[in-house]
């Protein structure tokens, strides 16, 4: 930003959104830092047109823009060289339309997801989506990061029930894809393109979803196994059975300790359990959540048989799944130097991937704690450093390389969180089976000057 000063940028931004919406007044100043980089200016537009004007201005001056919603996943991705404008969508926080009879809802990008869910609940409907931090995470941010939780097992990701998306391209075109009806093939499926684009293609301003009747009753069956092999054998039985669980989650031996309400931060660099870890270290758990009447649940009980060690219902059940969703954040609250990886695996590659993870962790002085969708191949694998002193960056980079090197072909795994000091030494996104040249072509088509999240995403 050699030719433009921050003041002149802010003056320009103020002329678009009004003075009161420029600067970090509307956000928590501590949140706006991204991997140690503080944005030069913060702007909170109130409409898609204002976003378009901000982006046109940024694009014409080669200013790097980072979109922000609820600030829950801002550290994901590479370390940007600079951020000139942090574009916060928090003012765009309305439910645009909700039609219970049509089972559709339209949400503005800045609305916290839980707020929308509350509205749906009044009509016994829901969006089957349980990623972490839904009280603060915004719809736009969740879409951009393709966030997911345990319900992905039965319902797929946001991509599977997002029916329309509104966005502003990097050069300031207000555009949309899809619509408000549940079935629609007019035009390109821009929802798929925007979901998981990490704010690198456009700023999402809103989205429409198809909603579902909320299951009236659910029950969770927890099954404990003496080895990973036994746990996966059980998974095979469930997959071959006629059962249709809502969630099918695997929990590693080290994971149990973090399934609790967040403990107050202690010496964050140390691995010391808050209480003695009970049970053998090779104890794997599979949690299966089912919906239905007494009759249906009795059938689950019969099919699952002796494997079930515990049943959860009511508040205990909700709390358990909340802990599962919050797992990585709970770990990070205790160990700020922990590294979180997300995997994309074929069903049968879950076993070798979990073995690779445990081996890479042991060989690089990490404790392994993880969980995830055991039949969808989306695992949240955490490496917790054992070291008393801050671990060297190479410990992380070597571990990531070793882990990826052991993954079966076709798999991919990204680093969702690690100390920012380690990021320059490793490839956050890693190899992908999808054509990278074409990804870059797509990026170039709607962000030709690369102003959106420069240096943070794979493209």
């Amino acid at each position: 930003m050699s030719t433009v000063t921050a003041q002149s940028v802010e003056r320009q931004l103020a002329s678009i959104v009004g003075e009161q919406h420029v600067g970090a007044r509307e956000v928590n100043a501590a949140q706006i830092e991204i991997n140690g980089i503080t944005p030069a200016s913060v702007v909170s537009p109130g409409s898609a047109d204002e976003i378009a004007a901000v982006l046109q201005f940024a694009n014409s001056r080669d200013l790097v823009v980072a979109p922000a919603g609820g600030f829950t996943q801002q550290d994901i991705g590479g370390v940007p060289a600079r951020i000139d404008i942090l574009l916060h969508t928090g003012r765009m926080n309305a439910i645009a339309h909700y039609d219970p009879g049509d089972l559709t809802v339209g949400l503005n990008a800045g609305i916290p997801f839980a707020q929308a869910l509350k509205q749906l609940e009044e009509h016994q409907q829901w969006l089957p989506f349980d990623a972490a931090n839904l009280e603060t995470a915004s719809v736009g941010g969740l879409l951009a990061t393709a966030a997911a939780g345990p319900l992905k097992h039965a319902f797929g990701g946001l991509r599977d029930f997002c029916i329309g998306v509104q966005f502003v391209t990097a050069d300031g075109k207000v555009a949309k894809g899809g619509g408000r009806v549940v079935k629609n093939v007019a035009g390109y499926d821009l929802m798929k393109l925007m979901i998981g684009s990490y704010g690198s293609l456009a700023v999402i301003t809103g989205a429409n979803f198809k909603v579902f009747p909320k299951p009236r009753r659910t029950r969770t069956f927890a099954c404990v196994f003496g080895s990973l092999e036994d746990a996966l054998k059980f998974r095979g039985q469930v997959l071959r059975s006629p059962l249709q669980p809502l969630c099918l989650e695997i929990l590693s031996p080290g994971a149990q300790e973090y399934l609790c309400d967040p403990a107050p931060a202690r010496d964050a660099d140390h691995y010391t359990p808050s209480q003695p870890v009970v049970g053998p270290a090779d104890q794997w758990q599979i949690a299966l959540r089912a919906a239905g009447s007494d009759n249906v649940l009795a059938r689950y009980r019969r099919e699952l048989g002796a494997a079930v060690t515990r049943e959860l219902e009511g508040e205990n059940e909700s709390q358990f799944w909340r802990w599962v969703s919050q797992f990585e954040h709970n770990v990070l609250a205790r160990h700020r130097n922990a590294m979180v990886m997300y995997t994309h695996l074929a069903i049968q590659d879950v076993a070798p991937a979990l073995q690779a993870w445990q081996r890479a962790a042991t060989e690089h002085n990490f404790i392994a704690a993880g969980l995830g969708r055991v039949a969808a191949g989306n695992l949240v694998l955490i490496f917790i450093p054992l070291a008393v002193d801050p671990p060297p960056a190479t410990q992380f980079s070597n571990c990531v390389a070793a882990f990826r090197g052991m993954l079966p072909p076709g798999s991919s795994a990204e680093v969702a969180h690690c100390p920012k000091e380690a990021k320059p030494y490793l490839d956050v996104w890693g190899p992908t089976p999808t054509d990278l040249t074409l990804m870059k072509g797509v990026k170039h088509a709607i962000d030709p000057r690369n102003i959106l999240n420069r240096g943070r995403f794979i493209v």
């Binding site: 797929g156 009806v181 007019a186 035009g187 798929k192 006629p242 996104w429 089976p433 493209v459």
Partner: protein
């Protein structure tokens, strides 16, 4: 077509894999839609390498290429101009791999939809998207159109069941998106490719999800004396908390037409019927069947029947899936629409269709996916009467305008193709379309692959870099001409 190009095509794909005589090309001048045009040549590649070499040839000679599956499409997506090579994928029809443990199959684009289910049934799996043409249509075409079908209400459309694609780009480059994993790192170019109507690349291998066959299925037929009651039932069922696997509606005219064709036991005097299917665990299906029957009765169904066995179930579905064929027996020609509306607008839309039918004096039969508001009004006309042809199009446009007025879409599963290209401006702004063109250009910069499809033929779509004219979105009775 330049004879040098024909020679090259023969060199690539084999002597018997290229058609260029007029009598041969005649068979490829139409698909399931209304438009007709004879291609310059038809070539049948047998491998990904063939497709790549053909595309390199087309790229270097700037020859347009139009891919084609089984030609069952209803929007003119597989229609090629005289200057174009038609790339017929029929000989790439192998199931390359069935990976039961990973719940995936890898198939070539020419594999017929139903064959995937037939090949995997013995393992207890099937391929869920089931367009009515599933006995003939191919996976490649399904991917291009993002096809639906009756059972997509609960199971999702094609894009929800595709995890990996190998494709050839217009310049001949072979690329891969995704694989057997549910998703992968980076942009979701797999999902973005599905439904691109052959304008981004040619799928040469597709990884599809296999779904566990349900333990139990119940098929109900609810019979009504009024269309409105049937339409209200649709809303009431979804509000009751049950998501049926399929929820189809046929109006009285259609019921009689189908019954004369297949003798499935549809009542000849009904004003409308709903065909409702519930799938899943035995216990859940029984409960849901009971709940749905109750809702139907509350909404004044005169009778709710349940298929007693698989044979009866198949017969009921045969009626639904051959509905278009049945109409063909009684009407010389018909024009199918594919509008979508929010499901609470089904009653109002059907009234509007009735009004349009009377206005033009044309019979309009309705058979559609009521559960997701995807209408298929069939406008019957006599193709020997120019006035009727004209009126059928006018009626179709009015129906489309009505769908858009209710906040719907111009196509739910048939695609835009060449037929609905000019309606795109009624749904999308100039900027929306510009973004789409720019993205297409990342794959297909010179538009040699399936040109003149999906994107409307407006100046700002052709020359997106020049100064932009004002949007031409003033509607003529709701729809621009």
């Amino acid at each position: 077509m330049d004879s040098a190009i024909i020679r090259e095509l023969r060199k690539i794909a084999g002597k018997d894999a290229v058609l260029d005589r007029p009598e041969e090309l005649m068979l490829y001048e139409y698909d399931g839609g209304q438009d007709k045009s004879r291609p310059g040549a038809v070539v049948f590649p047998q491998t990904t390498d063939h497709v790549s070499r053909i595309m390199r040839l087309a790229h270097s000679t700037k020859t347009p290429v139009v891919p084609r599956g089984a030609g069952t499409g209803l929007s003119g997506g597989a229609i090629a101009s005289r200057q174009a090579i038609m790339l017929a994928m029929a000989r790439m029809n192998k199931i390359l791999e069935i990976d039961v443990e990973n719940q995936r199959a890898v198939v070539q684009p020419g594999v017929v939809n139903l064959e995937v289910s037939n090949a995997t049934a013995k393992y207890g799996y099937y391929y869920a998207p089931d367009p009515s043409s599933q006995k003939a249509c191919t996976i490649g075409g399904n991917v291009a159109e993002n096809s639906g079908g009756p059972h997509t209400l609960a199971m999702g459309v094609t894009v929800n069941h595709i995890t990996g694609i190998e494709a050839v780009l217009p310049d001949g480059r072979i690329v891969h998106f995704g694989g057997k994993t549910q998703d992968s790192c980076g942009l979701d170019l797999t999902g973005f490719f599905v439904g691109s109507e052959g304008t981004m690349g040619i799928a040469t291998a597709v990884t599809v999800k296999l779904t566990r066959l349900p333990e139990s299925v119940a098929t109900l037929l609810a019979i009504y004396n009024s269309v409105e009651d049937a339409a209200n039932t649709v809303v009431a069922i979804t509000q009751s908390g049950v998501t049926p696997a399929a929820l189809e509606m046929l109006d009285g005219w259609m019921v009689r037409c189908v019954e004369e064709n297949v003798h499935a036991g549809y009542p000849m005097d009904a004003a409308a019927v709903l065909l409702i299917e519930l799938e899943g665990l035995k216990e859940a299906v029984e409960e849901q069947a009971e709940a749905v029957s109750k809702v139907c009765s509350e909404q004044k169904a005169r009778e709710v029947r349940r298929a007693r066995d698989e044979q009866q179930r198949q017969l009921l579905w045969l009626g639904r899936k051959t509905a278009f064929g049945a109409v063909g027996r009684v009407a010389p020609a018909y024009y199918t629409q594919d509008g979508v509306i929010p499901r609470t607008k089904v009653p109002a839309t059907l009234q509007e269709i009735e009004r349009i039918s009377q206005k033009y004096g044309l019979t309009i039969a309705n058979v559609f996916h009521a559960g997701d508001g995807n209408l298929h009004p069939l406008i019957l006309f006599d193709s020997r009467d120019p006035k009727q042809i004209e009126d059928s199009h006018k009626a179709g446009n009015e129906i489309m305008a009505c769908c858009l007025r209710f906040g719907g879409s111009i196509t739910g599963e048939h695609g835009v193709g060449s037929e609905k290209r000019q309606f795109m401006t009624a749904m999308f702004t100039e900027d929306d379309l510009e973004v789409m063109v720019r993205l297409r250009n990342a794959y297909n910069p010179e538009s040699i692959l399936n040109p003149q499809k999906m994107i409307p033929d407006l100046r700002y779509c052709r020359e997106i870099t020049g100064p932009l004219p004002r949007p031409k979105v003033e509607p003529v009775s709701g729809v621009p001409v």
